[in-house]
């Protein structure tokens, strides 16, 4: 049945070891001799590339197994075992994780390579790569963990790494605040994850708390329990994958270096939520209602963030909102029990989003860290490789057939229709159009038209090879990845879906060809409408707009941040201060102070009774005696 494979343990270990080595080298040498960037770069890239090779090996190994037995696992050691709780530090690979593994390590390797160029000249070059490696290692633990608890290690680990990398430029308070926000918001989600695990454990975890046992025992659960667990886990997913209501951290996360954004958005972290829902498909598929909640949350997130995306002026923010939006699609997919579709979108998204971010990084690099698209323009000539690769990425993102994004997005929209959720579909199509609009708004503003800031433009130059090669590779991926899951209507074999099938408890709705054609047609139309409007407005240069009314509201992201600040952060801080200045000294300490006061007051009274007149003392004595004799004569009778 299961195959034991010790090398599974090695996969997350490699980047972690890399991180440790680089980190130690950095720490020990930061004061005195600085190691060369080349050394760090090579050291840093070893781990991702090796893990990619291992990922291929995993894939091949799994492929070599019969379809139903495609699982390999490795149990390193008993992590902790208390009573019926028995958690092993174990790793587990099945088709789902192997797919994740493949593209995660692939994009991560490219991002590592790209970073060597992008981060050149940074003060703490070594630290950056240590973090990157750590990030990858955590993601791999997340993907390969054999149960929710091990997954949680990676889950929190990526949160930590995102914090570290977002606040990488720590001198600026805003960056650190963004990092804090990311960590804290993620933690809110993690609370859901932990509670979900706890409920799940007390329901069926006693007989094993890894995916295999859980899956085997899932039928023992009542539907209330499943719903509760699924909702809680989904709360975790909203935190990690930036869905309503916890998406606010992601746009701020742009404060980190651009490769980090690429890593977070493409390969690691944000996809974790989708992966987790797919991982627990054996539970989610049992409660379609919760699935609908997931799907609606996803599609609404997609809509809202697409609206935001249309008004942003920071190139990375546009991409960030597009990520949130695309993640919404993915959740719509997995929520509708179309897990393979969701995962497939994760897969394609990894390529084009990594591509877009790295491209954006290349632009930013060229413009000396200028990120405002209203200061760019006409860069097509200056940065040809970046332009063309980004164009491919943009087309994929916008869902232009036959780029990869088209197939994956369309699959989700089709399934929305097929499962009888026209609302989701309609919004999805709308969002598709908006996606095309804001993506190309960005492309046009950055690369077309005439330069808006001549100084920046003059100094712009194409990035070094170490940065452009990853762009090209990713562009190829973005172009062709869609082919892997070509639906039957285009004569494809849905390779990915079939590959994933053993891992997922998927529903396969039956729908007519007409539906499918309708879905495809609508998406294509939406794409063209979006791109046309974008071209009309920005195709040949545009001036900095002044946002009013709804546009201003959307530009400020519906003032959600301010709302959260008002509703959560400020009250929290206010209560904190209130406790310090009012409750702590006055209320909780009150009884103590009152006792002391009373004690002292009584002491004063007794002090006053010590009048010093001997006659009065005699009177005290006589009064005492007299009272006692009164009592005694009562008792005499």
């Amino acid at each position: 049945m299961e195959q034991s494979a010790a090398y599974l343990g090695l996969i997350p270990l490699l980047p972690l070891a890399g991180a440790t080595i680089i980190g130690l080298l950095h720490l020990s040498s930061c004061q005195t001799c600085k190691l060369s960037e080349r050394t760090y770069g090579i050291l840093a890239c070893i781990a991702p590339i090796l893990t990619f090779l291992f990922a291929i090996k995993v894939f091949l190994d799994l492929h070599g197994l019969p379809v139903e037995a495609r699982q390999i696992s490795y149990q390193a050691f008993t992590w902790f075992k208390v009573g019926e709780l028995d958690i092993a530090m174990g790793f587990f690979a099945d088709p789902l994780s192997s797919l994740m593994l493949l593209f995660v390590t692939f994009t991560a390797s490219l991002i590592h390579i790209y970073s060597i160029g992008y981060m050149a000249g940074d003060q703490t070059f070594g630290k950056f790569f240590a973090y990157l490696n750590l990030f990858l290692g955590m993601m791999l633990i997340l993907v390969l963990g054999n149960g929710p608890v091990v997954m949680f290690v990676g889950w929190e680990g990526v949160g930590l790494c995102s914090y570290l990398l977002i606040s990488y430029y720590s001198e600026d308070r805003a960056n650190v605040l963004a990092g804090n926000k990311a960590f804290i918001v993620n933690r809110i989600g993690d609370l859901g994850f932990v509670l979900g695990m706890a409920f799940l454990f007390w329901a069926i975890g006693g007989s094993g708390f890894d995916y295999i046992s859980l899956k085997a025992n899932a039928h023992l659960l009542s539907s209330t329990t499943i719903s509760l667990v699924c909702l809680l886990l989904f709360l975790g997913a909203t935190g990690k994958s930036a869905q309503i209501p916890l998406y606010v951290w992601l746009p701020d996360a742009m404060a980190g270096p651009t490769p980090v954004s690429a890593l977070i958005h493409a390969a690691t972290m944000v996809t974790a939520g989708v992966y987790m829902v797919a991982r627990f498909s054996f539970l989610y598929s049992l409660v379609p209602t919760v699935g609908l909640i997931v799907a609606w949350t996803g599609i609404l997130t997609a809509l809202v963030s697409a609206i935001y995306g249309m008004y942003q002026d920071d190139i990375k923010k546009v991409l960030a909102y597009s990520t949130v939006s695309q993640l919404g699609y993915m959740f719509a997919g997995v929520g509708l029990a179309a897990y393979s579709a969701g995962i497939f979108h994760v897969f394609t998204h990894a390529f084009f989003k990594a591509l877009l971010f790295l491209g954006a990084g290349s632009v930013i690099y060229a413009l000396h860290h200028e990120q405002n698209i209203w200061k760019m323009g006409g860069l097509r000539t200056k940065l040809p490789i970046t332009y063309w690769t980004m164009l491919i990425g943009a087309l994929a993102l916008a869902g232009c057939p036959p780029f990869s994004g088209f197939f994956s997005k369309d699959e989700i929209l089709y399934l929305a229709l097929a499962t009888g959720n026209p609302g989701i579909w309609l919004i999805g199509v709308l969002v598709a159009g908006m996606t095309a609009y804001y993506t190309f708004r960005m492309i046009f503003l950055v690369f077309h038209g005439s330069p808006r800031d001549q100084g920046l433009f003059d100094h712009a130059h194409e990035a070094p090879t170490v940065m452009t090669v990853p762009l090209i590779i990713l562009a190829v991926g973005a172009l062709f990845a869609g082919v892997l899951n070509l639906p039957a209507i285009f004569g494809g074999g849905q390779v990915v879906s079939h590959w994933l099938a053993p891992s997922l408890a998927e529903l396969h709705p039956e729908a007519s060809h007409e539906t499918e054609i309708l879905a495809i047609g609508a998406s294509v139309v939406a794409f063209f409408i979006g791109i046309t409007i974008a071209y009309r407005k920005f195709g040949s240069g545009a001036e900095v707009p002044v946002f009013t009314g709804f546009a201003s509201f959307a530009y400020h992201t519906f003032r959600i941040n301010e709302l959260y600040d008002l509703l959560l952060v400020r009250p929290y801080k206010a209560i904190g201060s209130a406790i310090e200045y009012f409750f702590e000294p006055q209320v909780t300490d009150g009884p103590v102070q009152l006792t002391t006061w009373f004690y002292r007051a009584a002491g004063t009274v007794f002090k006053l009774l010590q009048v010093g007149y001997v006659r009065i003392y005699a009177i005290y004595m006589v009064i005492g005696l007299s009272l006692m004799s009164l009592l005694l004569s009562q008792s005499l009778k």
Binding site: W79, V82, L85, R187, A198, L221
Partner: protein
Amino acid sequence: MFEHVLSTMIFLPILVGLVLLLLPASQGAARGTGLVASGIILILGIRLYFGFSGAGGMEFSEIRDLLPSLGISYNLGVDGISLFVLLTGAVLYPLVFLVMTNQSKGCYANLLITQGAMAGAICAGDLVLFYIFWELMLLPIFFMIGIYGGPKRLPATIKIMLYTVAGSLLMLAAIIYLGVVYHTQFGEWSFSAAKLAGLELHGGAAVLAFTGFMLAFAIKIPLFPLHTWLPDAYTEAPPATTFVLSAIMAKIGVYAVIRYVIPTFEAEFARYALLLACSGVIGMIYCGIAAIGQKDIKRLLAFSSASHMGILALGVFCMNIQALTGTIFQIVAHATSTGVLFLFAGMLEERMQTRNIEELGGIARQAPIFAFFFAVALLASVGLPGTSGFIGEFLIILGAVKFHTAIGVLAGTTLIIGVCYMLWMFQRVFFEKTNDRTAGFKDLTGIEALAFLPVILLILIMGIYPQPFIAKIEPAAKEQIAFVRPAAQVANYPVLEKGHVPEQK
């Protein structure tokens, strides 16, 4: 020597401390002596760890009569629970002497006395003996805060002393009451914890005695709302004292609940567990929120410590094996992480001459190793997986959910609350721009870094491979739980049944 290892661990530091107090010695000599003494204790502790079989029950016992007319005996021993609490002190103590170089002679001597007294309180198997050590460990703290503390030390000292003495004297009453009840029930005098566990206690007197015990421990832990002495004391105490208070002494409160209250007052414990658990959770949230309002780094850490102690205490009151094991594990974990944090805060104070968070900044750039170690301890303290803090917190939350869903959910919020103020503090102190004050901050020296390294490694090891520790804790925890379980069932308290866990289909 090894058959009297516990006695040695108790009395060696006390004697050395007393001798130091009585003899004129330079500050350096005192520190050196302290280092040597605590080093010996550490070695003994390590031998103890490896000599410990972990089969459950008391090991390394030393029993002899002390006062036969009242059945008071000199009764020492360690089981899986006390072993770790004891080792925590043994491992952390040398650090103080290594790192805290600016304390005065008296402070070092008092620290040693505290160490011995704490070891005594941990190992004591006789309640009167326990009480003696319990009081004894407070005295040096009193003097250390009072003599060497900050400008507002006087009210802080009086408060901590009166508060804790009030609690412990009421406990003394309860202890004596137990002894007398034992005398009437069995016709012989004894204050042995093991024997008193066999008492049949009923009615209001039992509740009162239980209250006596719980008050003492709740004040020491401290449980909400008895925590009000803590922020002032922690803030005003010299760094080494704060370290001892938070890292070890507070834990002894929790430990004592497990060791002495659970076996003796199983019925009362089961009855009031819910109330106490609520107190733990409320304290966790309250102090956690209070921490965000702090400007003083030590005060912030003090509230954070109180907040974590709330969770720790909660673990005890959940009365299931996961939570209890988690608590004991967390005792060690939190001791290491908070201890390191307080030590670092002390170093900051010593070197920067300020504790005001607003006046610091950019230290990560100046002192990366310092910042790294601090970060690891901080992450452990917020319970990040892979560090020691996670295992304990996870087990406690797991247990809490079983105990009572609402409490479990509230306990889970510790994940959020802790991270808020910690990150805020880290940001202000370590990130952002350096200023004139912090520009002069020197990183840890090689020796200091080496001194901290084992603890940092311990934090990581305990997070990554905790099973060896848990394997030694679990049997002892099971024994304690065994006391409560029948009580809870027989008395039909709605405790274990009430686990609002979704029932199986």
